[in-house]
Amino acid sequence: MIRATLFTIAFATPAAANVDSLLNDYILPSWDTFAASAATMADATAADCSPENVAPYYNDAFDHWLNVRNLKLGPTENGTLNIEFWPDDRGFIPRTLADLIADQDPIAYDADEYATMSIAARGLMSIEMLVFDDRFNGYGADDYTCDLLKQITADFSAEVARQSNGWANDYAPIMLGEGDGVSTPVIDEEHAFATFYTQIVSGLENLTIQNVNRPLGTFDRPRETRANAWRSDRALRNIVLSADAMVEQAHLLMGADLPATTAALGELHKTADRVTDPSFANIETDTQAWLLLQIMGQNVDAIGAGVSNEIGLVMGISAGFNASDGD
């Protein structure tokens, strides 16, 4: 779940013009290559929907998604779940896919209609379910499931292209201060800087909460099937690549060396190198594996602390009023 923290901005020094660099040298190219990888997966699936063929394209697309996954802004603010619907504790994904398959639902043959499909049957996690889960991946080229997978990958490609275009054509110009104040807001550099900073800090918080703490559970009760993308053995990889991406974003945003942040990322890599099961399936039986995952959470938190100290403190951005009190 998204942790929304509001930040009060009191810049100690003028914001460097690094928002431009972050957007033009990292975010937009990352969306470009992500969209290309999604299109390649759709083409490859259309040609050969077999799990063996689709798996590497799926992994490539997922890798590219992790470069930008924490940036829940612009077209991605409400679009994240179209790309990756996770967690799914109530099992909406297998239920929805099983229903479609049992009904041989003709929506699999209608691209326009499919764009309105429940997010439980769209995006990376539904592709993962069909390709990697034994309940689904026994299909043949003539089966409905094959056609469904072709539609899901095509829909996914279209959705990633839509968001990529939204970033390039609409959102990036706004964050670069090109809003007209009428149909688009005027965003100054300090606001844009703080916006991206917030996405990095909350992205790191969420990485610990979702990718580490969910499977970690408690020492007595690990929850290995709550790991992110465990079916495709990506649980570990998703943590490391996400952290890599956010640290790179932090560097570009600050336009400076971030020694503590970099050191903390190094520690995460060292811990990750000792993990023997990339799906975390062994944390239930292997105490050492559970402890390593716990240490990875501390490593990610240390990266977050590095970013807070080396960007937030320096730039005078501090966590402020949090509106989340209910009754």
Partner: protein, 354 residues
């Protein structure tokens, strides 16, 4: 218990014509608590969103109860309630400072019954969170006259069905520590919807164990006895629980589910609930999600409407009225918001109909 019934009957018979009415304080249709600068207030609100009156509160309020005829309101503190103030809305004077019996605290909601002669307050025992409805004789300086168990922990909202005899209580199920809001029993909580008469429990509804962490907190009732209940999920919101239920005695509970992306946006939290003016649909608000969800009276999702920090929600003849933390009051008709007014206040959780 027979005494209590006789007492209520006698109150009904004795109700006298009011001399000063709500008209004398600007004809409000609603009341709502608000933060005004660094201070707190209880406001009367008209059908068009104007502030009819504004009287100070000593601390942050949560909900209120308006006397059906006289310009008297009871303002309830946020949980754990340190105050329930009976306020003369004409002068702003505190007529009575209600004190919960020793060891009990107010739970944020209450209502007038029997033409305004009886005040009900949701209360809980501080140590155990065991729920009660406190009974106060409004015709005799709000003298404490008794209490009815709510048959659950942490009661919050209470409503009267149109039969005039059946009360429905949202037992939130949460055991909080005696002096604060710290939750002590999330793993074992069992919220329920309890139907009560003045004599005791009539009916109790619990959700499946899978949904036991769904705290039932706020209620809306329709004249035919259909009850809408809004819930607040006390675990990871990515579970995407339903947060609106519909129930009519003698029938099964309907859990209303939004499309998954919309359910995600609500963050497992419904703040207020109301039926539309025609009763054909029901809405919930989520300040955390900055949106309102509308459902049919059979639980089918109709649509979402965005309003940042929206929480207050109440029935208007042609739909609903909404309020938010930025001072806005709007009318919502068929899902479209129509701006009614903006006030220099932060509207708190609820708008209560008079």
């Amino acid at each position: 218990m027979a005494n209590r019934r006789q007492f209520l009957t006698s109150l009904l018979a004795a109700s006298a014509a009011p001399t000063i009415s709500w008209a004398s304080v600007g004809n409000p249709s609603f009341i709502a608590a608000a933060k005004v600068g660094d201070d707190y207030a209880l406001c009367g609100i008209t059908d068009t969103g104007q502030i009819a009156f504004q009287v100070p509160l000593p601390a942050r309020g949560h909900a209120g109860a308006g006397h059906p005829t006289k310009p008297i309101a009871v303002a309830f503190a946020r949980r754990p309630g340190t105050f329930a103030l009976v306020i003369d809305c004409l002068t702003g004077a505190v007529m009575q400072d209600l004190t919960a019996p020793t060891g009990r605290s107010f739970s944020g909601h209450g209502m007038f019954l029997d033409d305004g002669n009886l005040l009900l307050t949701t209360e809980q025992i501080a140590e155990t969170s065991e729920g009660f409805l406190g009974l106060w004789d409004a015709s005799d300086n709000f003298k404490r006259i008794g209490a009815i168990p709510t048959h659950g922990l942490g009661p919050h909202d209470v409503k009267l069905l149109d039969d005039g005899a059946t009360l429905v209580v949202a037992n939130g199920g949460i055991h909080t520590d005696a002096f604060g809001r710290t939750k002590l029993n999330i793993e074992t909580m069992r919220p329920n919807l309890a139907y009560l008469s003045i004599d005791g429990l009539l009916d109790m509804v619990e959700l499946d164990p899978e949904l036991s962490k769904n705290s039932i907190r706020h209620l809306a009732v329709r004249p035919d006895g259909l009850v809408g209940f809004a819930m607040q999920w006390q675990a990871d919101p990515s579970f995407l629980p339903p947060i609106l239920g519909l129930h009519k005695r003698g029938s099964d509970v309907i859990l209303a589910e939004a499309p998954l992306n919309e359910a995600f946006a609500m963050q497992g939290y419904a703040g207020s609930i109301a039926f539309s003016g025609d009763g054909h649909e029901i809405a919930i608000s989520s300040p955390k999600g900055g949106r309102l969800h509308r459902f049919t009276d059979t639980g089918e999702f109709i649509g979402a409407t965005m309003q940042t920090d929206v929480c207050g929600l109440v029935t208007l003849p042609r739909g609903y009225m909404t309020s938010d933390g930025y001072g806005h009051i709007a009318a919502m008709e068929n899902g479209a918001l129509r701006h009614l007014a903006e006030h220099p206040v932060n509207w708190d959780n609820h708008i209560i109909a008079l």
